[in-house]
Each structure stands twice: as C-alpha cells, then as structure tokens.
Amino acid sequence: MSFRYSFAGKRYETIQTRAAYVLLAPTILVLIVLFIIPVIQVIQLSFTSLNSTTGTSKFIGFNNYKYLLTSPRFWQSVLNTTLFTIVKLTSEVLIALIIAVMLDTHVPFRKYLRVSFFAPVVVPVVASSIIWIWFFDPTLGPFNQILSAFGLPQSKWLYGKSTALMSIALFSIWRGIGYDIIVFLSGLQGISDSYIEAAHVDGATNLQIFFKIKLPLMRPVLAFVIMMGFIGSFQSFTEVDIMTPDGGPGGSTLLIVNYIYQQAFGNSKMGRGTAASILLFLIIFSMTYLQRKISDRREIRDA
C-alpha cells in the first residue's frame, strides 16, 4: 500500500521512495567504495611517508606538501602541464572550429571527411602513440624528411628540450581534434535556418553572419568543449608514458599525472604521490570554479 507523507516540507510517496532507494543503492555503494573511501585515504596518506617498497609508513605532517611546493621538479610538471594545455586547447579549438565551418558548407564526400577527421579519436591511444614515436624520430622518421623536402629546418621533436613538449601537443591535437569538429559541426547545424535567411535578406555577408550570429550562438558549445578539454588535458598521462616515459629531455615533457605516477609507483613514495594528486585536484577545481564564475557573470550580463 502506498502512503503519502511529508518530510522537511515536501510531499512524498512511500512506495516511490522505497523504489528510489533500492535502485539507487548499488550506485551509492559503488560511490562509497570507489570514491568516498579512496578520497579519505588519499588525504590520510598524504600526511604519511608510506613507501611501498619497504612497507614502512609514519606520520610526517605536512612534510610531503612542503617537499612538493619546494620541489623544482613538481613545479616544472605544473608548468609543463599548463603550457601543454594552453597550446593544445587553443590550437585544437581554433582549427576545429575552422574545419567545422568548412564542413558545414556544400562539399561532397561529407561522410568520408567526417570519418577521416574522427578516426584518430576512436583509435586506441597506445597504438597511435607507437606510430608517432617513429614519426618523431629525427633520423629514421618521416617528419624531418618532409620538413627538409620543403626546405625547412629539421627539428629534434621528442629529443630536444624545447621541442619535446610541443611534439606531444601536436600528437594530442591530432588525436583530439575530431571530437571537437563533430561537436562544433552539430552545434552549427543546430542553428536554425530562419536566422540565417533573415540575415541574408537583410544583406549580411557570410562573414558577418558567422561572427554576429553563429559564433555567439555557439558559445555554450564552445565553453563546454573548452572546459572538458581543459580538465582532460590537465590529466594527460598515456601519451607521455608511452612516448617519453622518463619525462623527456631535461624533464620537459613530465606532466603532473606522470610526475605522480613516478613518485608513487617509480619511487614507491606513496605519501608524496597522494599529496601531489590532492594538489592536482585543487588546481583543477579552482580552474573550473573560476571558469564557472566567469561564465555565470557573463550570463547575468547578457540576460
């Protein structure tokens, strides 16, 4: 029998409530085991000196954090990750937008084009990393060959201190751009024809239409892609682990997650590893919080 009842000012129904709890229980259980407990442990562990080789662990207060905040290697990884993210995101979004606009015009073989742009996204990262390692080989790889065919200077790609990180960014852009293109394309195609036609009737050029109508309407899509891209590339791990597992020349490709992995699983210093992951979380959290604040303010302004 189903009863209505009131709780904290709202009205509910017993059978519905019970169904809700039953169906939600597995998820909550999983969340507790895979999320709550690990997070609590991470915080705990970050105050210890747990060493997984020797199995010893003692409470050392904020030492791990002190170590990290004064460690040039840690800051280098933060810098690397930031640089990597900025370069990758801006290039990727810009190029993707341009390509999406181009795809939106009247061109043949749309399906083939879409498939070819999106294929790198689908393919397993590890497999494509392997291919690109060869590409980047200064002596044995085709990239330098192509460069010299065009009369351009050769690059050291993954083996040069100033070029390694950008090489990985290039690979990452190739991998991610298809996703952005598809999302932008569907955003563009979702813009109602009536707007476009009305603007044409008013005598606007295609360029004006793009900047004054399409772009503003794409803002939420753009914001979404940028934010997801930011969170994603800040957590990049696989590309670097395959291509430059030791952190690249002079540590120039060591990203934050790779640094954490090195500390926790290479050096066996799990205390430091957990402290570093908390710092990473704080960085990402504050960035998304800032971004939310900015976009909220803009929404209020625009309303």
């Binding site: 039953v22 060493n51 170590y67 200064p138 040069g160 020349p249 699983f265 290479g266």
Partner: protein
C-alpha cells in the same frame, strides 16, 4: 518483480567476476606433482629469447619433470620494481625474479639466496667470479644471485672508422686519447653525408657517469658507520673532474647536447662513430648492424674500471618447502656452468662462472667475436656501487647534472655538490 531480476543480474555478474578472479590465481599445488613455481623476468630482446630458451631446455629435461615453471615478462627494470612492490604488499610475489633489486630481498630481511649458495655444495659458490657478488649484496650480505651481468663497451662503427682512415688495433686508453680519436672520426668519417654527424653518443648517461666515477676512485655511496648508514659521496673533486669531462665533450662538439634518448638510433643509422652501451648490444644489434659493429675497451680516467650492469636473481621463499626446493633447483640449473654460458653468449651478458671459460662454446666465441672477448676481459675491472632503492633519484640527479654541464651553465664542483644535495632531498622520507 523486475527489481529482483535487476538485483540478481548485478549479483550474478559481480559473482562471476569474482569467480574469474579466484579461478585465475595460481592455486597452491601443495601435495600434487608437479610443483609449480612462478618466475618473472625483466629480460627483453635477445636476452629475453635467450632466457626463454633456457626455460625450454629446463622443461624438456626429464630430470626436472616434476617442476612446472610459469613465467612472465615483467617489463623493464622500473616497471618490474613497481610490480614487485605491489606483489610484496599483497603477498602475491612470485618464487623467482630475474631482475629484482636487492632492496626487495635483502632490504626486507630476505637473505635466503645467500644462505642457499653458501650451504648447498652443488651450487659451487667459489666458481663464481668474486667481484660479481658485490652486485648482489645488501649491507654486505649476499641476498641475490648474479645472473645476467653486463659490462659497458665502447662500440664503434667499422665503416665510419675505415672511412676516417683510423686504426684501432691499439685502442685509446684514456679519455684524453679517446677524444682525439673521436674527433678524427667525426671529421673524416661521415658515411651518410649527414647534416649532423657525431664522434660520440651515449644513451645511458648515469651508467657511464658511474663508471667514470669509479675510474677516479669515487664509489658513489659509502657506509659511514657500523649500522650501514649510506651516504652519497659524489660531490668531491674526483666527481667534479668527471662532470667537467661532459662539459668538455659538449664544448668540443664531438657529442650532441642533451639528445641522449635518441643516441641508439643515431648510431644505428650510421650518424655517430662511437657509442657506449651494454655488452648485450652484441646480441641485440647483430641483425641491424652485423659486421659493422665492433668495440674497444672502455677508456678511463685514472685507472681502468667499469660499472657492472645487468640483473640478479631474487628468490622469495614460501611456506611450502616443496616449492622452495623446486625454485632453488630451477635457479641452480640456470646458474650452472653450461646453461649460464649459453645464456650469456646468446644475450651478450657475461658468464658468471670461471669454469665457463673452459667450455668450447666460450672459447670459440672469444675467437670469433672479439667484441665478446673485450667485454669479458673488462669483468676483471668490474665494480658495483652500494645498491639503493632510490635509484631513480640517483639517476635523476646525475642526468640533471650532466644537462647543466653540457649546456655550460654550471661549475663542475658546484654541480656535483648540488647533485648530492638534490639526491638527499629526493631520497629522504
């Protein structure tokens, strides 16, 4: 009704995954024959194949029919370390590891291997080259067994040396003499007319650096008291001289700055005259370079010395004595004279036993493979430093020092002092 189905299917899948789990663990074969032991090996390339060949021979030998070996490749040295740490934490470590750090055995109070080699006369401990035991001790007590021991060789490309008109039958002895030869080779030996052509390249910078330290009398680490407290000592004048060498090599433009990760490919493509690498390259590069590959003994600073490389065997005793016996039998087999010699020849590692020299196959190898003979003769100058589980911190400090020196941005003495400081911070808790 449907809720029941839903919950049941969830449970079913959870249950079957757990069944999967238990079904895939090695269940202890306590009282049934054959005894199963688990062996991990961090050997790859030709060494991996050479080891697997010994596994085949062991399995095919009727004398060992009651022992079953389950083996798996555990990755490179670093990955293996991760796996071992994990396994030790969960009690799932294998019986034998080829390539485990002494920190995992001796560092945890496991000196089983040491006890066995001393107590089992069949092992013939005295037949093993004495200097090799240094590579397998923790706090001066034996805890591992040397198995795949390599010495670093100064390889060169015969084609390049010929084109440069050089004769290496009396090879350069000191690093100063070597620089002269390398420069000549760089000047006249560019067989590919490459834009970038070098006299000397090296990939494993820390290994060469440690070798050079030993040549100057520096032991990297020292025990400072009876409690085996370890101190890093690579910050004195002898170390500074070694650091300065790297700066000089870069300044002379005979070695590229900071491109060590790519050194192997550069050498294999014929764009460098000399390359420092493990003796295992003799086997690994036999197809790609064939006859073009040759080697001279490692040049030195004050006196000849090379840092030993390679791997040792770790043994983890379990509660079941039958398994321990099986594991020991296996280890004894692969370290006995002939199997070990065959392994060495096929992989480029050095044989660990003096009795191996008498074998025909070794004698022939010395005649037909002069590189192998060179590598072997260097064993007499083999040296190991005190093992540390902070080897990543050590190698990292070395790499950063070298980077500074190559870029000419530091004074050698200051650089090595900073290196030790950095190591101490990284290695601390």
């Amino acid at each position: 009704m449907k809720k029941v189905v839903l919950i049941l299917s969830i449970l079913l899948l959870a249950g079957s995954s757990l069944i999967f789990a238990s079904g895939n663990k090695e269940s202890g074969t306590e009282s049934e024959k054959p005894v199963t032991i688990e062996v991990w090996y961090s050997l790859s390339g030709k060494s991996g194949e050479a080891f697997k060949q010994r596994l085949h021979e062991f399995t095919a030998d009727p004398a060992y029919a009651d022992i079953k070996v389950v083996s798996s490749f555990s990755g490179n040295y670093g990955d293996t370390g991760t796996k071992v740490a994990a396994a030790l934490m969960s009690g799932t470590e294998p019986h034998v590891i080829i390539g485990g750090n002494v920190a995992y055995t001796g560092g945890r109070g496991n000196f089983y291997a040491g006890e066995m080699v001393s107590s089992d006369p069949l092992f013939q401990k005295d037949d093993v080259f004495e200097g090799l035991w240094d590579y397998a001790v923790y706090e001066n007590k034996i805890c591992n067994i040397p198995y795949g021991i390599s010495t670093p060789l100064m390889y060169y490309n015969k084609q390049i040396i010929e084109k440069a008109g050089l004769d290496l039958s009396t090879p350069p002895k000191t690093w100063d003499e070597f620089l002269v030869v390398a420069e000549k080779a760089q000047l006249n030996g560019n067989i590919n007319n490459a834009d970038e052509f070098w006299g000397f390249v090296v990939k494993d910078v820390p290994w060469l650096f440690k070798t050079q330290l030993s040549q100057n009398g520096n032991n990297v680490f020292e025990y400072v008291d009876d409690n085996y407290t370890v101190e890093a000592v690579f910050d004195d004048a002898s170390a500074a001289e070694v650091a300065q060498w790297w700066a000089d090599m870069a300044a002379a433009k005979v070695m590229p700055i900071g491109e060590h990760n790519n050194a192997e490919n550069v050498f294999l493509a014929g764009n460098a005259a000399f390359f420092v690498g493990s003796s295992t390259k003799i086997a690994d590069w036999s197809e790609t370079m064939g006859d073009m590959l040759a080697a001279i003994p490692m040049p030195y600073f004050t006196y000849p010395s090379v840092a030993l490389g390679g791997n040792t065997i770790s043994i983890f005793p379990k509660k079941d004595q039958k398994q321990n016996d099986a594991a020991w039998t296996f280890v004894r087999y692969i370290t006995s004279t002939e199997p070990n010699a065959k392994f060495a020849l096929e992989s480029g590692y050095m044989p660990i036993r003096k009795s191996a020299i008498e074998l025909d196959i070794i004698q022939q190898a010395f005649q037909n493979m002069p590189m192998y003979k060179t590598g072997f003769e260097q064993l007499a100058h083999g040296w190991s430093y005190i093992n540390t589980d902070n080897y990543i911190a050590l190698d990292g400090a070395i790499r950063r020092t070298i980077e500074k020196m190559e870029n000419g941005t530091a004074d050698a003495q200051q650089a090595v002092i900073d290196a030790v400081k950095e190591f101490n911070i990284e290695a601390a808790d």
